[in-house]
């Protein structure tokens, strides 16, 4: 078994052994459940060309817990080990820094995927109960969930970076929350600030999560978004590795 896999299993076990994981899973399920309910009720009231999938992924109630969940998932990854001193036992074992970063990131991503799995059931139950398709085509599911994964990869890497940078979990959580919500609400801000011209708005659209979701949940795959998320994930993970290694010359 490779070191990466061994460490990944230990990180994963650490997730599912902490009570926080189940609180997060429970609350998230509850909130997305409400969100689904609201989405469907809203569609019931009006005549609209929006599908259930689109309605589910584009409400405020969807975005609010979405932004909040990343700091919760990632805050303990590195900070806890710094604080407890277990980083010393871990890093004096024959394991590479890169393997540790990837294992921790991989476990966070796995947890994130587990977090989203139950939501697929909503659509199954909806179709079973109403005999109406929740989406116009299968591509809408595929688009929405691919984007969820892509955004998750990026925001989780940001969370990893914040956790690697701080010994304090709360500080790590606040850092990543600030960074993620800043990127996230940038596109809204351009509409709120009158001084921003249409050119600027156009630029921001390229990395606006809300705009991406609007398209992907219709089944439109925008390769620019895919490239953006994947390359940013790679870049931020590289930064995480650098920050993680900086403990050596900082003399922590």
């Amino acid at each position: 078994m490779s070191k990466l896999l061994i460490q990944f299993r230990r990180e994963l076990a650490a997730y599912f052994r902490s009570p926080l994981a189940y609180v997060v899973l429970f609350c998230y399920l509850l909130l997305t459940g409400f969100n689904f309910h609201f989405g469907v009720s809203a569609l019931n009231m009006t005549v609209s060309r929006v599908t259930v999938v689109e309605a589910f992924f584009n409400t405020t109630l969807f975005w609010f817990p979405f932004v909040l969940v990343f700091p919760l998932i990632t805050m303990r990854l590195f900070s806890e080990e710094y604080k407890m001193g277990t980083m010393e036992t871990l890093m004096t074992a024959p394991v590479r820094d890169g393997q540790v970063v990837l294992a921790k990131y991989g476990a966070a991503l796995f947890f994130y995927i587990v977090l989203w799995c139950p939501s697929l059931l909503y659509f199954v139950v909806f179709q079973w109960q109403t005999q109406i398709g929740a989406a116009g085509a299968f591509g809408a599911y595929f688009g929405a969930y691919s984007l969820l994964l892509l955004m998750g990869m990026f925001y989780l890497s940001v969370g990893c970076l914040a956790s690697a940078a701080s010994r304090n979990q709360i500080v790590a959580a606040m850092l990543s929350f600030a960074a993620i919500s800043l990127m996230f609400f940038l596109s809204i801000a351009t509409f709120l600030l009158p001084s921003v011209g249409p050119e600027m708005r156009e630029v921001v659209r390229y990395f606006s999560a809300i705009d991406h979701m609007r398209e992907f949940s219709r089944g439109i795959f925008d390769s620019r978004a895919i490239v953006w998320y994947l390359s940013m994930t790679g870049f931020v993970l590289y930064l995480t590795l650098q920050v993680f290694q900086s403990r050596k010359w900082r003399g922590a």
Binding site: M1, K3, A13, E88, T92, A93, P94
Partner: protein, 318 residues
Amino acid sequence: MIEVEQLTKRYAGLTAVKEISFHVGKGEVVGFLGPNGAGKSTTMRMLTGYLPPTSGSAKVAGFDIVTESLQVRERIGYMPENVPLYPEMRVSEYLRYRAALKGVKGRKIRDRMTDVIDLCNLGDVFYKLIGNLSKGYRQRVGLADAMIHEPELLILDEPTIGLDPNQIRQVRELILNLARHHTILLSTHILPEVEMTCGRVLILNRGKIAAVDTPQNLRKKLHQSGTVVLEAKTESLREAEKFFGRCEGVSGVIAEDVGEGWGKFEISVDEGFEGDMRQQVSALCTERGWAMRELTRRSVSLEDIFTQITRSEEALHV
């Protein structure tokens, strides 16, 4: 096994370790001794690859600690100070995970676990959560972890800190047992521990090596014969004090009246004095017709040596 050359670690505004050099041979048990903040832990962290040195170099089992860190780490079993562990894991899970992480191959893991559980007496807590263990057991889990991959070298940072006397004795016995197959570098600020377990002592003070020797030699070197304590019935305490003070090889006498005509004399012996001061004192007392009820030599403990070395070092720094 360990070759350290001019190793230095500088933190911002503080030099924790200053150009230390030492060698540890295969099979040796070497003790790092020093007050808190002397640089013991920093040196150990550098040897285990956790901290890179600012300058200088060190090799463990022939591998450089900076450029061949992975190879070094494969050969070291390290127990950090205060033994950080994952509280949410069971002892069994933790040891299995650590064994795998340190490259013990699948089938051997079970054998190694049985071995270390036996050695460290962990059978009773095998399935317990680490978070619920007492300090003594946690310490032993740390030790078990350190040796699970049969490392050539064990580095133990304060292995007995925070234990009760019984547990301290158990851990010391364990270390003595391990010394048969492993090279051990341990740090402590408890002196009897070094005297009991180590073949050689490195005294660190303010980031420098203040002395290197066997515990016995150190004692010999620093105080040839120490102090002789005598309790005798003399006519006059002051007179007897002066009398002993004039004797050959005596550098000082402290007399104290202990009642009913008995006096207690602490006679310090000159470093250059050859022979047994007790014999001389006893002969003098018989000659004078003084009754004796105690005559002992108080040997210098490592404690005294330690204080002396670190104090004289401090004097140099002032």
